[in-house]
Symmetry: C2
Subunit: 376 residues, 2 copies
C-alpha cells in the first residue's frame, strides 16, 4: 500500500435539541441529531487551516484515504490528501455526511429514539440550509471559529453557497463547483422522475420498507436516470459508442449495447449502498434550494468572503451558464470572485474526474487565501 | 365544427405469409399481419400524388382530421389537411400505424390467431426496416407504384430513411425531420431506462399482463423520462420556471412545482392510451436502427430521390448535428438534398409544434417535387 495513503475513521457528533436548538426549515424538530464526519490532517494552533468539504447527492463523509479494514478510496481522494490540491499536510480537512443521508448522519433510515423504529417518512423534509445549519454545529463542536474554505461540487456547491448566505462570518472563502443558485425546471424534472420511479416501486411501501424488501428496482431506475445526466453525450460516445455486449443483436429485451449493461450495473450496485428514502429527501432538498440575491446578501459579512467558482463546459446537468449566474451576482455586488470554466469532456462527472486542471486552480486559490488570512 | 375539417375513419389491411412473404429481421414470422391506416384526399388518375406519413414512437395512423364520433384531432393536423402544408386537396395522404404498435396494427397486444391469446413477448422483436417492409405491402395494396413523398419526424424520420434505403425506386422524395442515421449511446440510454422502468414494474409480469393489471407505474415513469427529452431546457423554463402548484413548499413528497404536476399528468394520461409492451418493442427498434452508408446506397435508385432534411436548433434529443450527418452523407454522394435547421425554442417537440416555418418549407418542396414528376 502507498505509504502516503491516509488511514481514516468515521467519527460521530450527536447533539440534542436541548444542547443546540435545531428547527428544520419545515418547522419540525428531532429529539437528537447525529452527524457522521471524518477529518484529515491537523488543525494548526491558529485554528485557521480548516477546510470543510461538502458532498454531492450520493456522497458521504469518506472524502479521502482508506479505512483500516476497507481499502475503498474516498470519493475525492484525487483532490484531497498529502501533497494533493487540498493538501492534508497543510490543511485540516473535514467532511461530514449530510443530514437526511444514509451514511452515518441522521436520516430517514435512522432509528427514532422515541419509537425505536426507523423514522422513514416521519423524518422531517430537509433543505440545503438545514444541512448547513447542522454542519455549523459540527464546526462549533470542533472549536473552529473561521473555516479557511468551504468546498463542494454539485449539491456540495449548493451547500457552499448556503454557507456563504447563512454564516459568511465563519468562512474565509468559498469554492462552489459545477453547481447553481437554483434548479431549473429541467433539473427538477429529472429529480422528480427519479422520485417517481422509487415511489412507484411497490416495495417502497410509503417508505416503510426497513427490515423488509427494499425498493431496489425503483432506486436502480432513479440512479440510471442520474447517470445519463452525469455524463456528456460526447463522453458516452467515447466510452461506449454503439458497441454491443455480444457481437450481434439479441432480438430480445436483454442488454444489447454496452451502455445498457453499464447503466444496469450502476443501478444495481447503487442499491447496495444507498437508501431509497434518502434519495427522495436529498433530491427534494436540491429542488427546494433557491438562493435569491436578497438572501445571499442579507449578512454584510459575505462581502469579505473570497469566491472561486468552477464549472465544466461539457456539464449539461449544471451547465456553465448557471455558474456564470453565480459569478455575475457576486461581481454585481463587488465581491471578490474568480471564475474558471474548465474545458472537459466528462460532463457533470468532471468535478470528480478532471483532476489536473481543477487541482491547479484550487491549490493556488487556497494558498492565496491562507496567505491573506495569515496577514490579517 | 369547422366545415373544412376532415372526417376520417381507420381502415385495416391484413395479409398472411401466404399472400405476401414477410420475414422479420429477427428471422421470425407471423401467420398474419394487420396494418391500421387512414387516408385523406383523393388519389389522382396518374397515381402520382400519394404521400406516406410515418409516425413517431407514440403516434398512430390518425395523423389528421377527426372521426365521426370522436373529435380528437390527428397528431399532425396542423400540417396535414385542406390547404395546409401537406394539402389534402392536392395530395392523397396515407398514414399507417407501425407494426409493433398498439393502435390497430399487429403488435404485442394483438391476438395470436393460433393461440387466441395476445402475443405479448411472443411477438417478434421488430426493426425500423420491418415497419417499412410492412408499409410497402400496404402501398402495393393501394395500387401505388411510386409515392410522391415519405415524410416523418423522429422515429418517423428513421422510417423515411429506411424507405430510401430499401425501396428508393418507390419514392420520388423523402422528408426526414428531427431524426438520425443511428441512435447515440445517450439516446439508447434514455430508451433503456424507460424500458427498465417498465420491466421493473411487478405488474409487467414478463409482458403477460393483458386482462390483468397493467404496468402503469412503470410506463408512466418511462413516459415522464421521454417528456423531459422532448422539451428544451429553455421551453421548460418558459412554460414552468420554478412556479409552485400552491403558494409554498409542501414539505412532503407531493408535487410542489408545476413541472412535477405536468410530468405526473402526462405519465398518467399516457398509460390510458398506450401499451407498455409496444413501448418496449418500438424503443428497441429505434435503438437497433443504424443506417450505414453502404446500406443506404446499395440500391442505385436512391440517387434519384430528392431529400428535404429538417432539424430544430433547440432539439437536444435528436440534435441538429445528427441531421447534418444525414445531409453530409447525401451530399457526399451527390444526391439532391436540401437542409433546413429551423430556429425554434420547442426542443424535439418542435416537429409537432413549429408549424409556420415547417409548413412553408414542406409545402414548397412538395409542390416542386410534384411539378418535377409531372414533367417526367
Amino acid at each position: 500500500m502507498d505509504d502516503s495513503r491516509l488511514i481514516v475513521d468515521t467519527k460521530y457528533f450527536t447533539f440534542t435539541n436541548h444542547d443546540r436548538k435545531f428547527i428544520f426549515d419545515s418547522g419540525e424538530s428531532l429529539p437528537e441529531i447525529t452527524i457522521a464526519y471524518e477529518t484529515y490532517g491537523v488543525l494548526n494552533q491558529n485554528r485557521d487551516n480548516a477546510i470543510l468539504i461538502l458532498h454531492a447527492l450520493s456522497g458521504d463523509a469518506h472524502v479521502a484515504g482508506v479505512y483500516e479494514n476497507d481499502q475503498r478510496l474516498g470519493w475525492w481522494d484525487s483532490m484531497v490528501g498529502p501533497n494533493k490540491a487540498i493538501d492534508t499536510n497543510k490543511y485540516f480537512v473535514i467532511c461530514s455526511n449530510v443530514i437526511g443521508g444514509c451514511c452515518g448522519s441522521s436520516g430517514p433510515s435512522s432509528i427514532n429514539p422515541l419509537t425505536k423504529k426507523p423514522y422513514a417518512l416521519e423524518f422531517p423534509i430537509i433543505t440545503i440550509f438545514d444541512m448547513v445549519r447542522a454542519q455549523k454545529y459540527l464546526i462549533d463542536h470542533l472549536g473552529i471559529d473561521k473555516l479557511l474554505s468551504v468546498v463542494g461540487g454539485s449539491m456540495g456547491g449548493m451547500q457552499v453557497l448556503a454557507w456563504a448566505a447563512l454564516f459568511p462570518d465563519r468562512i474565509q472563502s468559498a469554492i462552489p463547483i459545477a453547481t447553481t443558485l437554483k434548479h431549473s425546471p429541467q433539473q427538477i424534472a429529472f429529480d422528480e422522475v427519479g422520485r417517481q420511479a422509487i415511489m412507484a416501486d411497490p416495495d417502497w411501501c410509503d417508505g416503510n420498507y426497513y427490515g423488509l424488501k427494499i425498493p431496489q428496482r425503483g432506486l436502480a431506475v432513479a440512479r440510471m436516470i442520474g447517470h445519463i445526466t452525469y455524463m456528456s453525450e460526447d463522453s458516452m460516445e467515447k466510452k461506449f459508442s454503439r458497441r454491443l455486449k455480444d457481437k450481434k443483436y439479441s432480438f430480445s429485451f436483454m442488454a444489447d449495447f454496452e451502455v445498457e449493461g453499464y447503466l444496469r450495473y450502476r443501478g444495481d450496485s447503487f442499491v447496495k449502498r444507498f437508501d431509497a428514502n434518502s434519495y427522495l429527501y436529498i433530491t427534494k432538498a436540491m429542488d427546494y434550494f433557491n438562493l435569491s440575491d436578497e438572501f445571499l446578501f442579507e449578512n454584510e459579512a459575505v462581502r469579505d468572503v473570497r469566491f472561486l467558482v468552477i464549472s465544466f463546459n461539457s456539464d449539461w446537468l449544471y451547465p456553465s451558464y448557471q455558474s456564470r449566474a453565480i459569478v455575475n451576482l457576486l461581481k454585481s455586488k463587488m465581491i471578490n470572485s474568480t471564475y474558471c470554466d474548465i474545458d472537459s469532456n466528462y460532463g457533470h462527472d468532471a468535478f470528480l474526474l478532471e483532476v489536473d486542471q481543477q487541482s491547479h486552480i484550487v491549490e493556488h486559490f487556497l494558498t492565496n487565501t491562507h496567505n491573506l488570512c495569515k496577514k490579517d
